[in-house]
């Protein structure tokens, strides 16, 4: 990037928080999806909404694309830079500004880590419910942008159900408050459009979150099964019995092995396992947990375990939450896929996944939010074997098509990003997509924010032709773009 422009960005955020040297830029080339890379022109780390607004105004004046970034844990390439762009990182805006527990809300800066909110509120007996497995790291701003979910969203709902308001910086540098602590404000619900917009409408700088009282009791059970069929049946049976578990997570043999390797848990080698949380008052939690255990046994469970103490319970959940990353222990590379199927089709869908994997000659590990039918097939491969990465990408794509065929969706919670733009046309009609694009243009007519993400190629006249898919790094110029 032109040094003069870099200097102007530096003047806004301070030299230390404006990175333009090649080594620093290399570390922002990708997010949690490492197969797609592009080098930004500059990375700025503002400390306030005012600085964000000034950065946006300058980028707009210079005609440079803007890519917002939280912790870079996204799995769909949402924070993947556009070559030569300005990446606006929120990592330094991580203050918890105020909490009003009597009215059930807290106001935080967008860069605060999801789990830090709950940690901050723990002493007062409150917490923030959505719990992506990456919650130690991922930011609230990223959660809002992705409408992230987590294990406990089965009972409590996704991010969208827990965001009451947001302060956002729009493309013209204006600062706007959408929604607020008061429930159900009058007028258009513009906040809902922002949640899940993946950084294409503007930059979120502050968020008003709904916070809940911690349930009086939580009971956890871990049940093992000969195969995914019995486990899938158990999920349906539990929900059909009228129980709304806080979470039902399913893992197959490979995922169990990965979790075991990462945490040292003494989980057995079985076809499938469920990790179930039920919560409520002490009496309620005890009763429903016992009932869920019976249902699991009745549906063919090999064993039902109850954690001995809170430490073991925490470890079990740590095992589940590290499972993605822990797959790194059993395979040199992997792709995380994210698709949704109707809950009743779990067994069939997993059978299909296994068949597709066999045909492709690759292994697939499954660890997912079974209660929501939100699959996370992890396609294992070795990037050093020529052609395997492409085979893995194709397999992951086939799995998505299968989800759509079964009446599901191409993403449950990880977003479309750069990765799944190509599948949007398979899920939505031209008119659907054109309508989304109209909303987008209303907020950001020049398409400065995160161009090429979510929506396929530009479809309205007079648009700037941003590339919709950035080449993997192998194909890129080794020195990176100027």
């Amino acid at each position: 990037m032109d040094p003069g422009l870099v200097a102007r960005f530096a003047a806004i955020v301070g030299a230390r928080n404006c990175l333009a040297e090649p080594p620093a830029l290399v570390t922002y080339e990708c997010d949690g999806l490492t197969s797609m890379r592009a080098r930004p022109g500059v990375v700025v780390l503002p400390a306030s909404t005012g600085e964000v607004a000034a950065v946006v105004r300058l980028a707009r004046e210079a005609g440079v694309a803007i890519v917002p970034r939280g912790a870079g844990t996204g799995l769909s390439g949402g924070a993947l830079p556009v070559a030569g762009c300005v990446v606006v990182g929120l990592a330094r805006m991580r203050r918890i500004l105020e909490a009003d527990l009597a009215n059930g809300w807290a106001r935080v800066e967008a860069g605060v880590a999801n789990l830090d909110v709950s940690k901050h509120l723990a002493a007062a007996g409150a917490y923030y419910a959505p719990d992506p497995s990456s919650q130690r790291v991922c930011t609230i701003g990223g959660n809002v942008a992705e409408n992230s979910g987590g294990a406990h969203c089965l009972k409590y709902g996704f991010t969208v159900n827990h965001v009451l308001g947001a302060r956002v910086v729009l493309a013209d540098g204006s600062v706007v408050d959408l929604g607020g602590p008061v429930a159900d404000p009058a007028g258009f619900d513009l906040l809902a459009a922002f949640v899940g917009s993946e950084g294409t409408l503007g930059i979120v700088t502050e968020v008003v979150l709904r916070v809940l009282r911690k349930p009086e009791a939580t009971r956890t059970l871990f049940a093992t099964f000969p195969s995914c069929a019995e486990a899938g049946e158990t999920v349906s049976a539990i929900i059909a019995s009228g129980i709304v578990p806080a979470a039902i997570e399913m893992m197959d043999t490979l995922a169990i092995a990965a979790a075991r390797a990462a945490t040292g848990l003494d989980w057995p080698e079985v076809g499938a396992a469920l990790l179930v949380d039920v919560d409520g008052t002490v009496g309620e939690a005890g009763h429903t947990a016992a009932r869920a255990g019976e249902i699991a046994r009745g549906s063919g469970a090999l064993e039902v375990r109850w954690p001995r103490d809170e430490a073991e319970r925490q470890l079990m959940w740590k095992g589940r939450k590290s499972a993605f990353a822990a797959v790194g222990r059993i395979s040199p590379s992997y792709l995380v896929q994210d698709g949704v199927i109707p809950r009743s089709e779990i067994a069939r869908a997993l059978g299909e996944v296994a068949r597709l994997a066999r045909e492709a000659g690759l292994r697939v590990a499954n660890v997912f939010h079974a209660g929501d039918g939100n699959l996370h097939p992890l396609v294992l491969y070795d990037a050093r074997v020529p052609g395997e990465e492409r085979k893995a990408e194709e397999l992951a794509g086939e799995i998505l098509r299968m989800c759509v065929r079964l009446g599901g969706s191409i993403t449950g919670e990880h977003g479309v990003g750069a990765d799944k733009v190509v599948y949007m046309g398979e899920m939505f009609s031209e008119d659907d997509l054109a309508t989304m694009d109209l909303v987008r243009s209303a907020f950001d007519p020049e398409r400065l924010f995160n161009p090429g993400k979510v929506l396929p190629a530009p479809r309205l006249c007079g648009e700037r032709p941003w590339p919709s898919r950035v080449r993997p790094v192998e194909a890129a110029d080794p020195a990176g773009p100027a």
Partner: protein
């Protein structure tokens, strides 16, 4: 190449970010574990040249290994950064002042005799009151920052430091349960001799015959952490030799940084056919003192200590050796003692390795957070198993005019077993 394979273990999930003190401080990716691994990868692939700009991001790494504990994918960042530092040391020419300063550290710290020679003048200097005056007037602030840092870190010295020497063999009290060798540690031996004395007494009371081989040198931890591999290997061979053939059940160490290095000798000398097997056998037998005592189980009667103790996890015990329960167990076995956890206790204090000497400004920035947390606990005493951490926390608290009373956990146990007195509060800067 081993390094390349190890790099591939990183899946870019970012779980290590909140565990990394430099990332938590500055919020920038190149100063995070994930970013540093990205840089190593770019170097391996030839996408970046190994130039001074890249090196700043490796230099800023504290080597605290918080990221190793946090990583679900089992990335051996410890091995990766060590290999990278060795490469930097071989291939990058640092500015002259930097080189001289680094050489001075390595000419001094790993050599107990030279360190001891320094102690007399320092003792006179601190006794003369000039030192307190200098602290009060903030004269250290006028020295070039890094020299000021070295002076300011020095612990309170007693005449005892001059004559610190341990008996070559100490018999077990009661039936002998094990015969162990003690690694005396260079900084430890000279500046904190009380810790070694306490270790010998406690081990003996718990049924260990303790051998302190004469002429043992430095373990090479500082050299390893700085990428001075040849120097480190030389020291490792010498140390292994001095502990061989003594019929030891275990080699015991009480300084965190030394312990993690000794346990890695097998890897350090893996490519040396004459030494690989000897080094591996040696590493197998190395135990942190808390680890050994936890395995043996307590036998000596504990006397109550009415004391609240804040526990500081030394990175090279908790992260590098994975010992968290064992050091706490030394203290929880003492009746009357209240063990308090320091919030965010798994974060580094900024002193890791020689970081506080070569980059004092950033080490202090990180250390200030640790001091906030330690003071928030309001304990009577801070238990810290690493001399570097103790020096760092005390120094920064001292600047705020707060005297932090600190002891090695083994000294606390010693006080309970033998009624010895615990180290007092240090003087403060004011």
């Amino acid at each position: 190449m081993e390094g390349r394979r190890l790099l591939d273990d990183c899946v870019h999930c970012g779980f290590c970010l909140p565990a990394c003190p430099t990332y938590v401080s500055w919020g920038v990716e190149p100063d995070s574990p994930r970013g540093r691994i990205d840089l190593m990868r770019a170097l391996a692939d030839g996408r970046l040249p190994l130039d001074p700009e890249v090196v700043t991001h490796f230099d800023s790494c504290l080597g605290c290994m918080g990221c190793v504990t946090a990583c679900p994918s089992g990335v051996r960042y410890d091995v990766l950064i060590e290999e990278t530092r060795a490469r930097v040391e071989r291939e990058v020419r640092r500015p002259l002042a930097d080189r001289l300063f680094r050489s001075a550290i390595f000419a001094l710290f790993p050599h107990p005799a030279r360190l001891r020679a320094l102690v007399l003048p320092l003792l006179l200097w601190s006794r003369s009151g000039l030192d307190a005056l200098a602290r009060r007037l903030g004269l250290y602030g006028l020295l070039p920052p890094r020299l000021g840092e070295m002076a300011e870190l020095l612990p309170p010295l007693g005449a005892r430091n001059l004559a610190a020497s341990l008996p070559e063999t100490t018999p077990a009290r009661g039936p002998r349960r094990a015969r162990v060798g003690l690694v005396a540690g260079c900084v430890q031996r000279v500046f904190f001799p009380g810790v070694n004395d306490a270790t010998v007494r406690v081990l003996a009371s718990e049924g260990c015959e303790v051998v302190v081989p004469r002429g043992q040198g430095c373990c090479g931890a500082l050299s390893v952490h700085a990428g001075r591999e040849d120097e480190a290997r030389r020291m490792a061979r010498a140390l292994i030799s001095s502990f061989e053939g003594l019929g030891l059940d275990a080699v015991v160490v009480n300084a965190a940084g030394c312990g993690s290095t000794l346990k890695e000798y097998g890897r350090l000398l893996a490519d040396d056919p004459a030494w690989a097997a000897r080094a591996a056998a040696f590493s197998e037998r190395v135990r942190d003192v808390s680890e050994l005592l936890a395995r043996l189980g307590p036998v000596a009667p504990r006397q109550p200590l009415a004391l609240s103790v804040a526990f500081h996890d030394a990175c090279h015990v908790a992260h590098a050796q994975g010992l968290r329960e064992e050091p706490r167990a030394l203290l929880t076995g003492i009746p009357g003692l209240r063990l308090l956890e320091v919030p965010d206790g798994d974060q580094c204090c900024g002193s890791a390795g020689i970081h506080n000497l070569v980059d004092p400004a950033s080490a202090d920035e990180i250390g200030e957070r640790k001091v906030d947390r330690v003071l928030s606990v309001g304990a009577d005493l801070l238990a810290s198993a690493n001399p570097g951490c103790t020096l760092q926390i005390r120094k920064l608290a001292g600047r705020r005019g707060v005297a932090v009373r600190a002891a090695h956990p083994i000294e606390v146990l010693d006080a309970s077993l033998h009624g010895t007195s615990l180290p007092g509060a240090p003087r403060t800067g004011r």
